[in-house]
Every structure is written in structure tokens, then in C-alpha cells.
């Protein structure tokens, strides 16, 4: 076994052409994913968080080449995913599976659960009919469902049960790596916890590696070993989950965390309300992409793309945070508290008023 992480993503780039006019000329590019790098060790989970349009879903799909990346490299178990073709690619894909957000849209309504689960085995020409039957049943039972489900159709199941079927479909090929793209977002609160527990149990039991994509920060913290925060096609901060949640350093991460409503008054942070909306990824701002919404933005932020600063594995792309970390003598918690205070002060000064 190599010591290399199972998944290595290096400066991954996925741009979509924007075509206009009669001749469908390319007039620009949507920079959905623009230079994203991370690694995931075996049996570990990387949480990928960010708001809609930040590129987290595109990043997940680009790794599996469900969307073709336009640049960068993806290595899976030492193999170059982007250079692999034909039968080799199919063999690689057997080991990398995905669970989609919408359990209503991702299961073919005309197929029985048996046909849905068996399809992957047929495509990959795995096993005899008898062996396939056994594997289908095993995958289904691993997700807490029984053989009674096999002859039924997706519409006969609730959202939570459908998501179990979608997970069983991913498991039937006995993969090493799962991309979980918002797997619980479409489910009711009381069902979410059931599916989260199932995913954790499967990871421990089958030795799986996860890329867990979600906008739900509490669930990401619960599920993940490491967490990366995306904004407008880039990762702005990446750290061990405990470090990131204890001492967020990027102003966007700070604002994101402070915006999550909580039932626990003690947990409520001073809310930092960002002004404005996320800009379009086809015309990303110059310099730091967060600068037009950032209460701490300085002139350097408008011009220079902030380089990565690493503080014992806690990586952040921000000029101001880098300076505060230095000022705090490398104490991330101190720098985080300081940045948070600066943001709250700056945000209350610039809150737009309707009296103007």
C-alpha cells in the first residue's frame, strides 16, 4: 500500500463556456471550480462546505469525471484519473461512487429497486446472476432495508428510504470512495439523523473514504475529519474539523458560521451579516474573490490574490487573516477571536440604512 492519500486533487479547474449569439461563439467562461486542491486519506472524510453556486457540487463531480475538468490533476489510489480511458476508467469508476442530493430525482421511477441496484453490476459485468442477487441483497441490507423492497418501485418509498436505496446502489459495487453530494438536505430533520448515523456506520464497517458535500455546517462537523470551505470556485480555508470550528480564520468562514441560527443561546455567535450577494462566477472579482462582500477588505485585497498561509495544517487564503495570525504569534484561536471582533465592528458601521 502506498502512503499517498487515496484521493489527491491538485489545482482542479472546471470552466464552462458561455456561448452567445447565432454562431454560439464563446464569450466567456463560468469558472465553477478554479484551482481547487485537497487530499483525502484512506478511511477519512473531507467535508466540503459553501453556499449554492460556490462550485462544491461541480468539484465533486469533476473528481469522478461526471463533468470533465478543464485543468489540474486528480489522482485516485496513485492513478491519474484524467488520463485514464476506456476499460481502465470503468474499473476506476467502480471504486468511486456517488450519492446525489435528491432521492426523488436520482432513482429511475420505471425500474424496480432490484433493477436499480443490479444495473451497476451488469454494466461492470460482475458475477453470475446468482452472485449478483446476493450482492444486491447484501448492499440493501447494509442500509437497513430488507428483501421485501426489491420488487417495489421508488415511488412506494419515503424520502429517507429512497436515500437508503441510493446509498445501497453506490455500495453494491463495493467502492473505496464515495462522493456524498448533499445526501441529507432533502430529508426531514427527524430522518436526517438516521441517514447520518447510517453513513458513519458504513464508513467504519466497510473502511470507506468520503467526500461529504453539504451546506449544513453542524452535520459536516459531526461527519468530517477535515473540512474545506469554498467560495466562488476556490477553497478559502481548509483545516482539521476541530481546528476550523474552534478557530475559523477566513472572514467568509467567520460570517458563514455566525449566520447559522442555533437553538442554544450559549452557542449563538455575534452575527456578522454580510452585505450583498455572491457575484457571478463568470465574472469573478479581481484579487481576493470575497473582497466585495468582506467587511475587512483593504486595497491589497482588491488587487492581489491571497496566497495560502498554513498554520500547522490550518490553511487559509486571506491577507488580513495572515497578518492577524502573525500578530497573534501563531495562536489561531487568538487570531480568530480578533478577526471576529473586527468583522462585527466593521459590519455594524457599514450596515446599509433605509433612511438614506
Amino acid at each position: 500500500m502506498s502512503a499517498e492519500p487515496l484521493v489527491v486533487v491538485d489545482r482542479l479547474q472546471t470552466h464552462f463556456p458561455v456561448r452567445r449569439g447565432l454562431l454560439r461563439r464563446t464569450v466567456g467562461h463560468v469558472q465553477a471550480v478554479d484551482g481547487v486542491s485537497f487530499t483525502i486519506d484512506r478511511r477519512r472524510t473531507l467535508g466540503l462546505v459553501g453556499e449554492s453556486g460556490c462550485g462544491k457540487t461541480t468539484a465533486g463531480r469533476s473528481i469522478l469525471r461526471l463533468i470533465e475538468p478543464t485543468g489540474g490533476a486528480v489522482r485516485f489510489d496513485g492513478k491519474d484519473v484524467r488520463a485514464t480511458r476506456g476499460a481502465d476508467l470503468r474499473a476506476l469508476r467502480r471504486r468511486m461512487q456517488i450519492v446525489f442530493q435528491d432521492p426523488y430525482g436520482s432513482l429511475n421511477p420505471r425500474l424496480t429497486v432490484r433493477a436499480i441496484l443490479e444495473e451497476g453490476l451488469v454494466i461492470h459485468r460482475l458475477g453470475t446472476a446468482g452472485e449478483r442477487e446476493a450482492r444486491v441483497l447484501r448492499a440493501l441490507e447494509r442500509t437497513g432495508m430488507t428483501a421485501a423492497a426489491l420488487e417495489r418501485y421508488p415511488h412506494e418509498f419515503s424520502g429517507g428510504q429512497r436515500q437508503r436505496i441510493a446509498i445501497a446502489r453506490a455500495l453494491v459495487l463495493e467502492p473505496d470512495f464515495l462522493v456524498l453530494d448533499e445526501p441529507i438536505s432533502a430529508l426531514d430533520v427527524s430522518i436526517q439523523a438516521q441517514v447520518v448515523n447510517l453513513l458513519v456506520e458504513l464508513r467504519e464497517r466497510l473502511g470507506l473514504t468520503y467526500l461529504f458535500i453539504s451546506h449544513d455546517l453542524s452535520v459536516v462537523e459531526y461527519m468530517s475529519d477535515d473540512v474545506a470551505v469554498m467560495y466562488l470556485g476556490r477553497i478559502v480555508e481548509r483545516a482539521a474539523a476541530s481546528d476550523l470550528y474552534r478557530a475559523p480564520l477566513h472572514p467568509y468562514t467567520l460570517a458563514l458560521f455566525s449566520a447559522v441560527p442555533s437553538v442554544d443561546p450559549a452557542r449563538r455567535r455575534r452575527r456578522i451579516v454580510l452585505s450583498g450577494d455572491v457575484p457571478s462566477p463568470s465574472r469573478p472579482p479581481s484579487g481576493c474573490r470575497f473582497h466585495p462582500r468582506c467587511p475587512l477588505a483593504e486595497s491589497v485585497c482588491r488587487e492581489v490574490d491571497p496566497p495560502e498561509v498554513s498554520l500547522g495544517g490550518h490553511r487559509v487564503h486571506c491577507h488580513v487573516a495572515a497578518r492577524e495570525v502573525e500578530r497573534a504569534g501563531g495562536d489561531a484561536a487568538k487570531a480568530s477571536a480578533c478577526l471576529s471582533g473586527m468583522m462585527a465592528a466593521a459590519a455594524s458601521d457599514t450596515l446599509p440604512s433605509n433612511e438614506t
Binding site: 426531514d188 430533520v189 427527524s190 455546517l217 449566520a259
Partner: protein, 340 residues
């Protein structure tokens, strides 16, 4: 009397499969200037309750019984029996409405300004110019950037957060006493949600508008509401002031909902607490307490026998559970999940 008092509301849908009581005996009261959060999972009847208030429940749904009293200067009126012309004055006039999906609830072929002005002219005898001026004033009130320019733009030119601001502007244009907000931030990102919630609380403080906030997000309720009612399977199972409810949840369903979310700050060991089974669809509501098949504290046969009454266990804190005062230790629940 409270601004709005719902008493024993029953709204049912008559489908080929039979009568489906989506709202089954709901009573609620909202005082002036207060925010009441109505929480529950999909299918619990919270949106049907909201739609019933304005009699917007579409066929085959009908309000079968109950009263919805709206306090007015000329005396209270019952919205259930109010004639349609008078009701039209209430909709968008005394009571404003904000829906979840601002893209589908705004008309794509009219400008923002025209749509707000239309709402104003429906309820007030004003000129076109005055209505347009009012629309501009409202866009400023909800802090939309470049209000003068936005007035002549179409909904597709705005982002989700901006559209929701327009919806709020429209709902508030006629200075309603009550705004019904049905999942107003569910379709929005969390930083935009923070903006909208901040805006709603600010407007409530300044205008004194009462808000009925319908949501599935307990965190949103905790941060914005004065009072909370928790719905499950067509009934209110618990009701209390927000601080009281979150500090001392008494109904097993509320306790389960609060425990099912991972606690922040330090990774908790072991699996998350879960509510077993799934939300029952209205055509298959269980007998007795509707939560008993999923309840870890259920005592049989009592809980399956008759529906429990809503009782006040602590001051202002009402619970629909006969054993809430002394739940005892939870036991395992066999729900037959997956046997389906």
C-alpha cells in the same frame, strides 16, 4: 383579544382515497406585534394552516370546521365565514403573505415596481404615481440596493435574496397587522438567510407587525420568535414561549427533534439520537397519540387509545402528551423500517 385567534380549525382534503385531515383541530393565538413560530416537518399541516387563514386552500381541500377570528377596528370578523369581497380586503391588506419560493410567487412578465404598485392600488384609492412612489419607498424600506433602478426590473434579473426582499416589500406595502411568512428563508443560502431574518426582525420592531413564521428550522425559530407551536401530524403537540420551549422541551417529539441535530463545538462521540420510523402521511395518521408509534416513551395501550389533550404543564407551556410530566426512561422502538 389577540390579533388573530384560530380555534379548532379542521382543514381536510377529499381525495379518491378518502378524507385526509391535514389540519385536525388546531388552535393558535397571535398577539399584536408578536412573532409566533409554527414548526414541524413536511406534511405536518403547518402550511395548510397558514393557507386556511386566508382561505387559499385549493380544492379538494376545504375548511370543515373551526373559527379564525381577526380583530379589526370595527369588531372581530371570522375569516372562515367572511364573504369573498370582504376577504379580498383582508388578503394583502390586513394580512400580508410571504411565500417560500420567491421566483414562482412573483409574476415573471411584470416589473417589480408594477407588482408592488398593484398590491397598493388594490387596497388603497391612490393614483398610479402615488402607488409607484409607495413601491419605491417599500424597496428602500427592505434595503434593496439601487431601489430606483430595481423598480423597472423583472424578477429574473434579481437574485434569490433580492426577490425575497421584494416579496417582503409587497407583503408590507399596505401596512398589514399580520404577516404570514411560509418558510421565507428555506430557499436561501445561510448568509442571505441571516440578512432576511435580520430585516424581518428590524421591520417588526419598527412597524409593530405581528408575524406568523412557518418553518422546519428550530434554529430560525429560536432566534426570531417570541412564541413557538410545534405541529405533528395535523395537530399542535407543544406550545410555549420560545425561551421556555427550548430550555424545557416536554413533548417527546420536540425532545427528539432537538436531540437529532449534532451539537456544535467538539465532535460528540457515538451516533446521533434519532426519531425512529418516518412522518406518517395524513391518510395514515395513527390512532390515539399520533406520535406513539415512533415514541420512545410511549406506554401501551394508553397512548394508542384516545388522543391526549393539550394541557398546561408549566406556566404558558402547553403539551399534548399524557405522560409529559413524568416521561421515565426511553425504551427501544420497533418501527419495522425497511420492511416496507
Amino acid at each position: 383579544m389577540p390579533l388573530l385567534a384560530i380555534h379548532n380549525l379542521v382543514t381536510a382534503f377529499h381525495t379518491p382515497a378518502g378524507r385526509v385531515p391535514a389540519v385536525d383541530g388546531v388552535s393558535l393565538a397571535i398577539d399584536r406585534g408578536r412573532t409566533l413560530g409554527l414548526v414541524g416537518e413536511s406534511g405536518c399541516g403547518k402550511s395548510v394552516t397558514a393557507m386556511s387563514i386566508l382561505r387559499l386552500v385549493a380544492a379538494p381541500g376545504t375548511i370543515e370546521s373551526g373559527t379564525i377570528l381577526l380583530d379589526q377596528p370595527g369588531g372581530a370578523v371570522d375569516l372562515v365565514s367572511l364573504p369573498e369581497p370582504a376577504l379580498r380586503k383582508v388578503r394583502g391588506g390586513r394580512i400580508g403573505m410571504i411565500f417560500q419560493e420567491p421566483m414562482t410567487s412573483l409574476n415573471p412578465v411584470f416589473t417589480i415596481g408594477d407588482q408592488i404598485a398593484e398590491a397598493v392600488r388594490l387596497h388603497r384609492d391612490v393614483t398610479r404615481e402615488a402607488a409607484r412612489a409607495r413601491a419605491l419607498e417599500m424597496l428602500k424600506l427592505v434595503r434593496l440596493a439601487d431601489p430606483g433602478q430595481r423598480l423597472d426590473e423583472y424578477p429574473h434579473q434579481l437574485s434569490g435574496g433580492m426577490r425575497q426582499r421584494v416579496m417582503i416589500a409587497m407583503a408590507l406595502a399596505c401596512e398589514p397587522d399580520l404577516v404570514i411568512a411560509d418558510e421565507p428563508t428555506t430557499a436561501l443560502d445561510v448568509t442571505i438567510q441571516a440578512q432576511i431574518l435580520e430585516l424581518l426582525s428590524d421591520l417588526r420592531r419598527r412597524l409593530g407587525t405581528a408575524i406568523l413564521l412557518i418553518t422546519h428550522d428550530l434554529g430560525v425559530v429560536a432566534e426570531t420568535c417570541d412564541d413557538v407551536a410545534v405541529m405533528y401530524a395535523g395537530r399542535i403537540v407543544e406550545q410555549a414561549p420560545a425561551t421556555e420551549l427550548f430550555a424545557h422541551p416536554l413533548h417527546p417529539y420536540t425532545i427528539g427533534l432537538l436531540a437529532a441535530r449534532p451539537a456544535a463545538g467538539g465532535r460528540q462521540p457515538g451516533p446521533l439520537a434519532t426519531i425512529p420510523g418516518m412522518v406518517p402521511p395524513p391518510q395514515h395518521f395513527p390512532e390515539g397519540c399520533r406520535f406513539h408509534p415512533r415514541c420512545g416513551y410511549a406506554r401501551l395501550p394508553e397512548c394508542a387509545a384516545g388522543p391526549p389533550a393539550l394541557r398546561e404543564l408549566r406556566p404558558g407551556h402547553f403539551v399534548r402528551c399524557d405522560f409529559a410530566a413524568d416521561l421515565g426512561p426511553p425504551h427501544a422502538v420497533a418501527t419495522g423500517l425497511g420492511a416496507a
